[in-house]
């Protein structure tokens, strides 16, 4: 007889591994997203009640799948609408067939569900929210908190997105082969947004948002497993793993942000870095030229493999940003390149590159511009110019941790150069 704790762990592990599979097949069979999610939830609750006394089943995945399906049939039976009757007939036929052995069918269903959630005809906010909700099974309230909106707003967003899927006839199937690359790029864009949503942790909700970033990493792994021939899938997975490897070092004990050069690199997750480098190798081995995510992963890999901040190969990082700008020009990438130039060639060269990036446009009001300029002015030895820029940056910073980080920089500056600042 397993202990309560062991059974609970087994339930959690099984739900994490099987959730998307079960939800995907129940949505396909019943056409009802809420029903599918509720049935998995119900099956998990039953498992939590049964497994401590009955023992953990030999095939926990099959147990959970059957429990969710039985629940679906029960719920459909109790509904007395015509539509439910039709679905019940269809569902009973489908559910009578044991498909647990047909692994490939299930993989297709999971992918089909992901392609539906990330369909380009859905509004982007809806795609990101629905993907998170469907894949993780977080409550609407939790998803709302992760996106910093009210539960009512998120409920509406999820409802409208699901309704659009139903009303416009978005089906849960994989796209035609000639559309696979562009539709896969659509899934990757949603995962990337999801990750960044989690990564830009704000105060108070940090744990939840780290979970969201972790889910994005897991999802990238799933897509890499299901679509192994797409280089960008591995590129994105590499990027997320390499960035998420730094999660423990990004904040100090007080919850304040620690910049990359100041981070305690012994706190970086070596397992994640190794997995990220492995994925990067697979991306490099793909037939197509390096894509947007792979190029970013190349830059992240330079940081991840540097012994310490001083040993960073800034020349390779500048080259990486050059390649990224050639592929997809972006003001923010140009800004990052200026930072790298500042480390490769010195602060004056960095300031020149920053001026070029700002002159190229698209960075007006961007909070990081004064922060980057302040750091470069400080390193160039112009303390008062740096202090003025830090003050602008503090005003523009979006979150408390960012403000405190900049304030610390400003304080350090005035402590070391008391006579030179206004």
């Amino acid at each position: 007889m397993p202990g309560q704790g062991a059974a609970a762990t087994a339930v959690r592990r099984t739900v994490t591994a099987e959730r998307l599979r079960i939800v995907a097949s129940l949505i396909r069979i019943t056409g009802d997203w809420d029903l599918a999610e509720d049935c998995v939830q119900d099956a998990a609750e039953r498992a939590l009640m049964r497994w401590p006394s009955d023992g953990i089943p030999d095939n926990p995945a099959a147990w959970l799948t059957s429990a969710a399906r039985r629940r679906a049939v029960d719920v459909l039976r109790r509904r007395r609408t015509e539509q439910a009757k039709l679905r019940l007939l269809q569902a009973e036929v489908e559910l009578a067939v044991d498909r647990t052995v047909e692994g490939e069918v299930y993989d297709d269903e999971r992918l089909g569900l992901l392609f539906a959630c990330c369909h380009p005809s859905l509004p982007l906010g809806g795609r990101v929210a629905l993907t998170l909700k469907t894949v993780t099974g977080l409550s609407t309230r939790e998803v709302a908190r992760a996106f910093l909106v009210s539960e009512a707003t998120m409920g509406q967003r999820l409802l409208r997105t699901r309704q659009k899927i139903a009303h416009t006839g978005i089906s849960l199937r994989q796209p035609e082969p000639h559309r696979l690359a562009e539709r896969t790029a659509g899934i990757l864009a949603v995962i990337y947004l999801l990750f960044n949503e989690g990564y830009t942790a704000t105060e108070g909700e940090q744990t939840l948002r780290e979970d969201v970033a972790g889910e994005a990493v897991r999802l990238a792994g799933l897509v890499a497993e299901l679509l192994p021939d797409d280089g960008e899938v591995h590129g994105l997975r590499a990027l997320l793993l390499l960035q998420h490897a730094r999660r423990a070092a990004r904040t100090d004990v007080g919850g304040d942000l620690v910049t990359l050069d100041q981070q305690d690199r012994t706190r970086w997750d070596r397992g994640y870095i190794a997995a990220g480098l492995h994925s990067l190798g697979r991306a490099r081995g793909a037939e197509h030229p390096a894509g947007y995510y792979q190029l970013q992963a190349e830059i992240a890999a330079v940081h991840a493999t540097a012994r310490d901040a001083a040993a960073t190969d800034w020349a390779r990082i500048v080259t990486g940003y050059d390649a990224l700008l050639a592929l997809r020009p972006s003001p923010v990438v140009a800004l990052n390149r200026a930072v790298a130039v500042g480390f490769r060639d010195g602060a004056e060269a960095g300031l020149a590159a920053l001026s070029d990036a700002v002159a190229a446009g698209g960075l007006d009001g961007y909070a990081l511009v004064p922060a980057v300029r302040a750091d470069l002015q400080r390193r160039a030895g112009r303390a008062s110019a740096a202090a003025a820029e830090y003050r602008v940056a503090i005003q523009r910073a979006a979150t408390g941790p960012e403000q405190r980080l900049l304030q610390r920089r400003l304080d350090e500056l005035t402590e070391t150069n008391p006579e030179r600042t206004p």
Partner: protein
């Protein structure tokens, strides 16, 4: 699923786009061949449009379309497709996808809420 495909003009395209546009007869042969085309036609230009309203019990007939814009509806097709992706594939092969724009609107059956 039934879709209304609204075919609109769009001045925002290049000569190369126009060059790449497939022949409309090929498109028509293909969609009718696969049984996806239910009905459709081209429409006379907006100069020939008439807008009709009744307000306060009074009939208001005005010259021109709903809204004045650079894009105007030049035709329509009613399609029967398995799903949205199938309709998108049909739309993507229409010449006006290259030199105009197409809007796919699912038909809302009268007996559905």
């Amino acid at each position: 699923m039934k879709y209304l495909m609204l075919v609109a003009t769009d001045p925002d395209h290049t000569a190369a786009d126009a060059e790449a546009a497939p022949d409309v007869n090929d498109w028509f042969a293909q969609v009718t061949g696969q049984g996806a085309w239910l009905s459709g036609d081209r429409l006379r230009p907006v100069e020939d449009a008439t807008t009709v309203r009744v307000r306060g019990g009074e009939l208001l007939v005005t010259d021109g379309p709903f809204t004045e814009s650079k894009e105007w509806i030049a035709g329509f097709d009613v399609l029967e497709c398995a799903d949205l992706d199938a309709a998108i594939e049909i739309a993507a092969k229409h010449p006006m996808a290259y030199t105009g724009r197409l809007e796919l609107r699912p038909i809302w059956p009268m007996d559905e809420n």
